[in-house]
C-alpha cells in the first residue's frame, strides 16, 4: 500500500514512479493500493485514467 495522505502534489514523474512500483509489486505476486490520495492527486489520477487502474483506500 502506498500512503499518499501527505502528498499534496503529484506530477507525471510521480505517476510514472507509481507505475514502476506497481510493476515491481506485481512481479512479486502482490497487489498495490493507494491510500488517502489528496484531492489534487486524485484529480491527476482521474485525468490520466489511472483512478480506475489503482485501487484506492480512503483514510
Amino acid at each position: 500500500m502506498f500512503d499518499l495522505s501527505a502528498t499534496g502534489f503529484l506530477d507525471s514523474s510521480g505517476l510514472r514512479a507509481l507505475l514502476v512500483a506497481e510493476r515491481s509489486v506485481l512481479d512479486h505476486g502482490g497487489t498495490m493500493t493507494l491510500r488517502a490520495p489528496s484531492e489534487p492527486v486524485q484529480r491527476l489520477l482521474e485525468i490520466t485514467g489511472l483512478s480506475e487502474h489503482f485501487p484506492v483506500e480512503e483514510s
Binding site: 502534489f9 506530477d11 507525471s12 510514472r16 489534487p40 484529480r43 485525468i47
Partner: protein
C-alpha cells in the same frame, strides 16, 4: 523576481522570475504562477490546473537545459495568463512530450508549447478564463 522592463508597454501586467535551471526550483515557479493567477481571480481548480501545467512544462524544460538561469515571464491580460520560460539548452536537447504528459497538459491548460529556439529550450502556456 524583478521589476518589469519600463519599455514594455504591458509592464503593469508582467511578472518576471529568474531561477536556476534545476528541478528544486520548480516549486517556486509553481508558487509564483499560483500567485499571479490568484490575482486574476482564477478559482481553486483553475489554479490547481495551472500548477500542474507549470510543473510539467518547467520540469521538461529544465531536463533539457544546460544549466544557467531559467527566465520566466508571467503576462496577465483581462481573461488570460500567458507564461513563457527559456533557458540555455543542452547540445542536441530533445524536447518531445510523451503521451502521459501530453494527456495531462491537454486536460489542464488551454495552449502549451515546448521547443528549442536559437540554442534555448523554451516553454509557453496560456490559461484562459471566460470574460465576466
Amino acid at each position: 523576481m524583478s521589476v518589469a522592463d519600463p519599455r514594455d508597454p504591458e509592464r503593469d501586467n508582467v511578472v518576471r522570475l529568474s531561477v536556476p535551471a534545476a528541478l528544486e526550483y520548480v516549486r517556486i515557479i509553481r508558487l509564483t504562477g499560483s500567485g499571479v493567477a490568484s490575482r486574476l481571480a482564477f478559482d481553486v481548480e483553475e489554479i490547481e490546473n495551472l500548477r500542474v501545467a507549470i510543473d510539467e512544462l518547467a520540469s521538461m524544460a529544465i531536463e533539457a537545459a544546460a544549466g544557467g538561469p531559467l527566465d520566466i515571464t508571467f503576462r496577465s491580460a483581462e481573461n488570460e495568463l500567458r507564461i513563457e520560460g527559456c533557458a540555455p539548452a543542452k547540445a542536441g536537447a530533445d524536447v518531445g512530450i510523451d503521451a502521459l504528459t501530453g494527456q495531462i497538459l491537454k486536460a489542464v491548460i488551454d495552449d502549451y508549447e515546448l521547443r528549442t529556439d536559437s540554442g534555448n529550450v523554451c516553454f509557453s502556456c496560456i490559461a484562459r478564463r471566460p470574460l465576466t
